[in-house]
């Protein structure tokens, strides 16, 4: 692939070509390289869609059919009619929304302190928050299990909400801090002169201006919670408490060969994430680069 690209980007000076022609050739080859990259990169996703729409018997048919010959919706119908799958999806939404809501509130409060105040220990606290992003989750898993059991939160929604809140908060704080820093302090000062309390300054003055930051933080924490697998697996036991990723992985064990259902459920499980991402991509990308956020 690198050979392709270097040929594309290097535009050797060809004196017999007019400047305009050269620019055009470079541009066309740039587009070709990008289209090739997109085809290669998105192929696994296209293939997932393709498999979800054909009978399992056609999954490995040769030659491979990207457009299914025997198009069918059986996988989707079976998944959507199954009450257990609906439970997984509802659980994921419930937990995701709760985590997003709590992370935004608690994270914004902390970000406000970091962004607007200089106080004893502020640098240390900031470093602590950054460092918490780096704690290996697998190291936390064993003792976390004990803590969650001790708090009587094992196999509950609340247990997962609390867990994901701990993972999401550092990002929420860092991203909101970065965003609040971009808002000039003149706004606060004007509000304080008018007699606003710090709370009012934050909620009535700053937050309405920080909407893009709030959106990117919200999407990020929701994604984090929606996609998490390890703790969802270890901290729940009953089928009623499972989330979408664990649900999909359970399918693998149960019906190892029903690729259409597995892929249909994968697609259904990815749709919220895809939609969220497509609509607010702009904000997420800017928030990502502001926060230096987990891949």
């Amino acid at each position: 692939m690198s050979g392709q690209i270097s040929r594309v980007v290097v535009s050797p000076k060809k004196p017999w070509l007019r400047e305009a022609t050269r620019v055009r050739i470079t541009r066309v080859s740039l587009y070709l390289a990008l289209i090739l990259a997109v085809v290669v990169i998105t192929f696994p996703v296209l293939w997932m869609l393709s498999v979800s729409f054909k009978p399992t018997t056609d999954t490995f048919s040769l030659p491979p059919q990207l457009i299914p010959e025997n198009f069918q919706l059986d996988g989707y119908i079976k998944v959507l009619q199954n009450e257990t799958f609906r439970t997984f999806i509802i659980n994921s939404y419930l937990i995701g929304l709760a985590v997003t809501f709590l992370s935004l509130i608690i994270g914004t409060l902390a970000a406000f302190a970091f962004s607007r105040y200089r106080f004893f220990g502020d640098q240390a606290a900031k470093l602590f928050v950054i460092a918490t992003q780096m704690v290996p989750t697998i190291t936390l898993l064993i003792p976390f299990f004990g803590v969650i059991v001790w708090l009587r939160l094992y196999d509950t929604h609340l247990g997962l909400i609390v867990t994901y809140l701990t993972f999401g908060l550092p990002y929420a704080i860092i991203m909101m801090n970065a965003y609040l820093n971009t808002i000039p302090k003149d706004f606060d000062e004007a509000a304080i002169i008018d007699g606003c309390s710090p709370f009012r300054v934050l909620f009535s003055v700053l937050l309405p201006m920080a909407t893009p930051g709030l959106i990117s933080t919200a999407v990020y924490t929701f994604l984090l919670s929606w996609n998490e697998f390890l703790f969802a697996l270890a901290l729940t036991r009953s089928t009623e408490m499972r989330t979408v990723p664990v649900g999909i992985s359970m399918l693998v064990g149960e019906f190892g060969l029903k690729w259409d259902e597995m892929m249909a459920f994968s697609v259904i499980g990815s749709v919220p994430v895809l939609l969220l991402f497509m609509f607010v991509q702009r904000y997420v990308v800017s928030g990502l680069s502001a926060g230096g956020v987990k891949g």
Partner: protein
Amino acid sequence: MILKLLRQATPYWFLLPGLFILGTLLSVPLYKVIEYSLYDNVIIEPDPTFVGLQNYADMLGDSGYWSALFNTAVFTIGSVVGHLLVGTILAMLVNADIHPKARTVFRSLLILPWIFTAVVVALNWQLLLNPFGVVNYALQSIGLVSEPLDWLGDPDLAMWSLLIISTWRGYPFIMVSFLSGLQSIPSELYEAADIDGANFFHKFWHVTVPQLKPVIYGVALLDLIWTFQLFPLVWLTTGGGPGRSTEVLSTLTYRLAFVDFEFSRASTAAVTILGISAIFTMLYLINESRNRT
């Protein structure tokens, strides 16, 4: 006087809920896991015996631990190199002189691998890399291989397959980070290089790389820290197998804890993951504070 103290306390009130949650729910477990590693038969026995550093001594004598450590190094370095390579190339392509609308579309399509949950990524690639799957079909039809390869089931190939999957999954973070870095390089620098007759590679080495340097180091370290402890992707694609050919420290820890129920040994392995991460985190924080001042 009291009023002044109250006012000085304001930022602490705002910080309190967040720092309380992070402080208790992260610090207590970290303390606990270190304590577990110094005892024998924790969690299973109500009254575990203190054994000091015996678990660590046992672990250092265990060849399984060393091979997991080696695999972790291969997986981490291979993945980070893959992410940097693909991420840089695609960031430069997307940043090239194309229509802004097209740029947005390409960027969103190329970020796609990053947003799927690890389970879906694992399933997708198991399907593609199946002996009867599309990848083998494609390689056979262009004549690169004569027999279908068992990408995930062959101990000699499994790590390579894992690296391909991990590269696909992880490059978007690098791409997005570099993209914003590239956009902040002043175009005058390239124009000056053009006047000096620099070719593409000269410009890349002498303008792009030095300008991106602060971003590259920090982003590569972050990627390293996260890849080093990665669990779901490895567990769900190969499960550490076949045999132990792709067993990394995280899957070893999980296996010891939740398959073998050897929580003391698992905690010991987990503490070493923490220790190595802490070193890289330190490097990252030093770099961050240097960039800030």
